[in-house]
Symmetry: C2
Subunit: 270 residues, 2 copies
Amino acid sequence: MDKEKFIISKFQNKFIGDDGAVVGSYVYSKDLFIENSHFKKEWLSFYEIGRKAMMVNISDAIVMNAYPKYALIGLMLPKNTSLSDIVELNKGIKDSCLKYGIEIIGGDTISSNLIGLSVTIIAKTKRPIYRKALKDGEILAFTGNLGGSLKGLKALLNGGKIGKNSRFKNIILRDKFFYKASRYINSAMDISDGLKSDLPKFLKNKDIKLRYNFNKFEFNSGEEYEILFSCYKKNIKALKNIAKKTRTKVTFFAEVKRGRYRKYGKSEHF
Amino acid sequence: MDKEKFIISKFQNKFIGDDGAVVGSYVYSKDLFIENSHFKKEWLSFYEIGRKAMMVNISDAIVMNAYPKYALIGLMLPKNTSLSDIVELNKGIKDSCLKYGIEIIGGDTISSNLIGLSVTIIAKTKRPIYRKALKDGEILAFTGNLGGSLKGLKALLNGGKIGKNSRFKNIILRDKFFYKASRYINSAMDISDGLKSDLPKFLKNKDIKLRYNFNKFEFNSGEEYEILFSCYKKNIKALKNIAKKTRTKVTFFAEVKRGRYRKYGKSEHF
């Protein structure tokens, strides 16, 4: 058992396994976004740091079919952070809040050697979508194109530069498609660790195999924040319509069959 | 304007100024507890780190007169953290949760150079207590003894050792007194930065002076997590009774009078 699994096992609770915890009609999610763990300082502007920290958290609310309402923000900032950097960071956070109608209701600021944000999103939902055990015949799909984030990360790790629209810098969330599509969707999660390590988490039941060959997809790219979901075959048409209307690419890539799930080796984390 | 004030001004929202944000009957609070900002690794055991991170957050819920129910926990842990350290950290967190009936509902774990916890507490209240502007004649009081935390911190900064019951290591919260006393209390906050810097925050109105001489109190000691509160004079007797019943020391130390509040120099942060 690796260390992360050990930690998760020690903190086991009935909510674990989903992107957020549902209590009544609220969905709570919390993700850290910390220098040297998620990014190098020179890779992102302060604006981009603020925006990405918010977007990875908003993503959790969306894939639970919840509307983000409030945010609590913990800020770790080095003592030498300039006032203009703070203004930029704040703008990155605020722009994301504005886009999704989120009100910042509290938080904490400390000086630290590392730049870091801890974001808690409080979202509301009438019908949360969980990661459920899949049934025979269900279809798996994902939104968008995979691979952009890994491509950006590789360029950065090699000392290169990436454009401001690289997926690594600028996450695109699929809320427009997903909220409309939610009534046709059985189970969902965001692709944050790469399909290779997220897919086994999604396939909670152990006796499943996937019918399609999908070597053509980018399996290793994490931090895509595209949505992996399942639906019944009869709903594919409705979903394709919503995808078209919301100009969202959706790839239906596999069908659930009883059998053993084929593993794809060890996942690679940054 | 110092940098912290600048940051707070940029993130200004209508909830700022209280220990938690009240939304409906819920109170949300979030504090970071990060190595080298709040503690040195060698000062606290992993058990003590977990416990203190929880207690400083639970404190925020209590002083809002709210009962903590759920927690989200973001963990930053160095790659070389041993499994037994993780077990200890978990035990420190869990013991505090058990004591206050808190259920952990989610969180996030990442590897980082720094040990750190970001805790969000979701609490319930029927009658939140805010930091309100004080009225002429109101009495100020605080629970417990001040100074223990600073004494511990000074010993540690001088390379000394402190006992496991030092206030710096082991925070005592005044929930038993405070929940019972809440109906007699007008305004409250926890003493996290020391009375010297917390008192001006508490005295929101600018035209106040305090009647008593209180040079005998420890003004500089932060992280006490004793409670600073205000009440009407007529309620002192009832509060003294509750203090006696719950074996809680309470010091009524000042009376609010119109006039200018006397400043006590610059506050010192660790």
